[in-house]
């Protein structure tokens, strides 16, 4: 890293023992058409100068709201209705507009969550950095060099040239670096980072957080890090504040919270955090399930065969470049693997590695350019409509976005009944009892069947999607990032459910994910994909304990908090 500029703010005299930011008994209320909603109650938080404090909680726990209140950026219908926010000895609970504008940028910086939407697409990156400097009277005469320097500090290579580019020419990680540069451009004493890396791949996340760490510790900036990932929080912060339903339930030294959580919610959170777990989930089978299991096991041992074999699979997309010209883009390159019946194989890779394309080809929703997929001894390419229809009964997908995978017009009953109806199974009465049974399988009350998807939470919708996938008694389920969009606790619940169902029904899973931590919990075998190729294919234990390729090693190292529990 190059030389760092020390800004004027660091030179200000400050009392080392006085908290930089102190929030006491904060209450925030949103007025909605359905009446007031108490988003935060009893918010309490102390940030000492130079300290990193992480606020951890699931979505809707009030963690972002608490932090936004500190810089007066609550949405229009939100109001601080109680408590105090003190910044460097000054009460800013209800500041004047003038005062809070003066504080923003120069004293309190902000790094927003979504790098894709937080840069203005019509202005060059450099202009957007300069804007911040100007607003705080720091642009000066040599503004161009200053902008380049600020961007270089945030780890953007070739910063002077990059400053002349537009946001769409940047990758997600580069945009996040630009946002960090903007947040730190005026040398604030406090930086609020709201899920700064949640939208990024793990390796990029690690680089960016490492860089942020180095920068803030050299500049002496205090950081409030908002995150849903307990492992990441424990690794990056001295202090953790756990929020649940708008209240602070526990706060204290990071490692202590992680190792000796006291509040039951924190205990639950620590137990569920995938990045901290170290072994494959084992469900406690009930007696009935055990019987089935025993039967299945016997069968399973006899037919220990590959249910799915993928050989030399390649997919080339044509990317149009104007009239008549097109470039070839190889999304999947010579991929071969096989999946044993009753086991889980995970395909891991970062965005753009081609893992979802593999899933779509296995599902027969996309035609491969070359290569073959063999399912239960039958080659699937060039199947007749009729064969394909039968194949659909045996292989089912579960998609990532629980909000998109259920038809909002269909009631839950119709959604789960649809596959039975399509394949003409049973009559109205038997279908109804089957739907009930399926809901029971995914631990949802049977009264849910009269409801509609918009009345359910993300995790509940994902269970319905699982019930629908199970309706036809398939042998293989392809989970395309099936738990990525869910909160940690809900994610753990769904993973447990998938695991339980696998043991009860002898299902085979092909699990597509970007999250190695989840892989360890659910998979028996792992394929690591990079740029359309499989770079490593082995058992889960082997991949985690003895990774062969450099890429896998990088991925493993990037799992936040992996080493903290030891």
């Amino acid at each position: 890293m190059s030389k760092l500029l020390k800004g004027p703010s660091v030179n200000r005299p400050s009392d080392e023992d006085r908290p930089l930011l102190e929030i006491r008994d904060l209450a925030i209320t949103f007025s909605t058409p359905e009446g007031p909603v108490h988003a935060v109650r009893n918010g309490r938080l102390t940030v000492m100068p130079g300290e990193t404090v992480a606020i951890v909680g699931e979505s809707g726990s009030g963690k972002s709201t608490t932090a936004l209140a500190a810089i007066g950026l609550l949405p229009g219908n939100g109001k601080v209705t109680g408590g105090q926010i003190i910044f460097d000895g000054e009460d800013i609970t209800h500041p004047t507009e003038e005062r809070i504008v003066a504080l923003r940028g120069s004293s309190i910086g902000m790094v927003p969550q979504d790098p894709m939407s937080n840069l203005n697409p019509v202005w060059k990156i450099g202009f957007q950095v300069k804007e911040t400097l100007k607003a705080n009277g720091l642009a000066g005469n040599n503004s161009k060099e200053r902008v380049a320097q600020v961007l270089a500090e945030a780890g953007l290579p070739d910063a002077a040239t990059r400053a002349g580019q537009y946001p769409h020419e940047f990758s997600g990680g580069m945009r996040q670096r630009a946002l960090i540069a903007i947040g730190l451009a005026c040398r604030p004493r406090l930086l609020i980072a709201d899920e700064p890396t949640s939208a990024l791949d793990v390796t990029v996340q690690q680089q960016i957080l490492d860089h942020l760490d180095t920068m803030t510790s050299e500049l002496g900036t205090a950081v409030v890090l908002i995150t849903h990932d307990l492992g990441l929080a424990a690794e990056r912060a001295e202090k953790i504040v756990v929020m649940y339903k708008g209240q602070v339930v526990e706060s204290g030294p990071a490692l202590e919270i992680l190792r000796n959580p006291v509040h039951p919610y924190t205990q639950r959170l620590v137990a569920a955090a995938p990045s901290l777990a170290s072994k494959r989930l084992q469900s406690q089978p009930t007696e009935v399930a055990e019987e089935i299991n025993a039967v299945v096991k016997v069968e399973h041992e006899i037919v220990d065969e590959d249910i799915l074999q993928v050989k030399d699979l390649t997919k080339v997309f044509k990317i149009r470049r104007g009239l008549g010209r097109s470039d070839d883009f190889t999304a999947v390159d010579n991929v071969s693997f096989s999946v044993k019946r009753g086991t889980t194989t995970a395909i891991v890779g970062e965005s753009g590695s081609g893992k979802s394309t593999v899933a779509q080809m296995v599902l027969n929703l996309l035609k491969p350019t070359s290569g073959s997929i063999t399912f239960d001894g039958q080659v699937m390419t060039d199947r007749t409509e009729n064969q394909l229809f039968k194949f659909r009964r045996r292989v089912q997908p579960i998609f990532q976005d629980p909000y998109g995978s259920l038809d909002p017009m269909y009631s839950i009953f119709r959604t789960i009944e649809e596959p039975l109806r399509i394949h003409g199974i049973g009559d109205a009465k038997s279908r109804q009892s089957r739907v009930k049974e399926l809901l029971e399988h995914v631990s949802m009350p049977s009264s849910t069947m009269h409801r509609f998807p918009n009345e359910l939470s993300g995790g509940q919708r994902q269970r319905i999607a699982i019930a629908r996938a199970l309706a036809l008694k398939p042998e293989v389920i392809i989970c395309d990032e099936a738990v990525s969009a869910l909160d940690v606790l809900v994610q753990a619940q769904i993973l447990n459910l998938l695991n339980k169902l696998q043991e009860e029904l002898n299902l085979t899973y092909l699990f597509i994910t970007h999250d190695l931590a989840v892989v360890r919990q659910i998979a028996d075998d792992v394929c690591v994909m990079e740029h359309g190729r499989i770079v490593e294919h082995s058992t889960t234990d082997e991949v985690f304990n003895n990774p062969q390729s450099e890429y896998t090693k990088n991925l493993l190292r990037a799992i936040p908090g992996a080493t903290l529990m030891l």
């Binding site: 000492m48 050299e218 602070v248 229809f389 998609f399 399509i422 509609f452 999607a465």
Partner: protein, 337 residues
């Protein structure tokens, strides 16, 4: 603005090998635990079984029925429809009984709005004229929905050459002004000799369907990329059935909004054509014809023209208001999830 402070350069310390063992603060940090009674732990992701199940349509209806805009426009539309279906209930006088003795006379008992230039009862004519307007509006909308909706849905869903052809055809229709196009079509011998409500409906539908096709196409394209469509395909539902069962129902909201607003616009278009003498034959009572006939007495007796014009405006306005209210209720952005 003050001169930029000269930056002080710090030499960076050699990057220490990154030990990611967590940070330990030198300061004492209090370990605070909230009393459990304050935030009782709830079970993870529980289904709320108390609320009444509501479909999307039911939710839209709930938000719609309390909107003043909707209540006013719906009451007006019901009134207009009642008048169109049972004109006899509202007007006792015979609209076709015209006596030149009464020409341009003011209001009198039993004839609240007075008489036209031809000595006909204005009130009765306004009441009986509603039927033609409502019929034209309704049937044109139905025709446009069937033709435009079908083409738009197929083009949006299947794409390819069908989409390309449709796009060019709609472009051609968009380039033709409605009135100019209608004048030409209504002058065709087949239409000129059989002037009736149906010829007007056909003419308006010919120029109305491309807009509906475009709206439907857009909505279908948006809906077809949803995951639930892919889920249904992988359940084994055929491509066409997926269109009918999942894509079209999910594209209906913007189509309903546009159809409601267009209904009002078609009523205006009919009145315009009739005013120009191209629409309904004089034998059919309609607001457009009456407005045209009242032209000559506009300077002396503006009331003769005003009443049918007012009826027309209120009817059209109420359909457009209804469309706005429905749009608010169906707008997916205003609803959670």
């Amino acid at each position: 603005m003050s001169e930029n402070p000269t930056p002080e350069i710090i030499e960076p310390v050699a990057p220490a090998p990154k030990v990611r063992a967590g940070k330990i603060s030198s300061r004492h940090i209090e370990h605070y635990v909230a009393p459990l009674a304050e935030t009782p732990l709830q079970s993870v992701d529980k289904v709320d079984e108390t609320a009444e199940p509501l479909s999307m349509w039911a939710q839209a209806w709930r938000s719609l029925r309390i909107q003043p805009l909707f209540i006013i426009s719906a009451l007006l539309i019901i009134l207009v429809i009642l008048v169109a279906v049972f004109p006899g209930l509202f007007a006792k006088a015979d609209p076709t009984f015209c006596k030149l003795d009464f020409a341009r006379q003011g209001p009198s008992a039993g004839h609240p709005l007075g008489y036209t230039f031809q000595g006909c009862d204005i009130y009765a004519r306004v009441i009986y004229g509603a039927k033609a307007s409502v019929l034209v509006g309704l049937f044109t909308t139905i025709a446009v929905l069937i033709v435009g909706g079908t083409f738009g849905a197929l083009a949006g869903y299947y794409g390819g050459w069908l989409d390309a052809v449709l796009a060019r055809i709609t472009d051609i229709f968009f380039a033709l002004p409605l009135i100019l196009g209608a004048i030409i079509i209504m002058q065709l011998p087949a239409f000129r000799e059989n002037k009736s409500i149906w010829t007007v409906i056909i003419t308006l539908a010919i120029f109305g369907w491309p807009q509906m096709a475009r709206i439907t196409r857009g909505a279908v394209i948006e809906a077809k990329s949803a995951d639930y469509v892919m889920a249904s395909r992988s359940l084994g539902l055929s491509k066409f059935k997926t269109l009918v069962k999942h894509v079209v129902p999910n594209s209906l909201a913007p189509i309903i909004v546009i159809a409601t607003i267009s209904l009002g616009i078609y009523i205006v278009a009919e009145a315009t054509l009739s005013f120009l003498g191209l629409g309904l034959p004089p034998s059919i009572m309609s607001w457009g014809n009456d407005i045209a006939n009242a032209q000559i007495s506009l300077r002396n007796n503006p009331a003769i023209l005003m009443w049918p014009a007012l009826a027309l405006s209120v009817t059209v306005l109420s359909f457009i208001m209804l469309g706005d209210a429905v749009r608010d209720a169906l707008d997916p952005k205003s609803r959670k999830g």
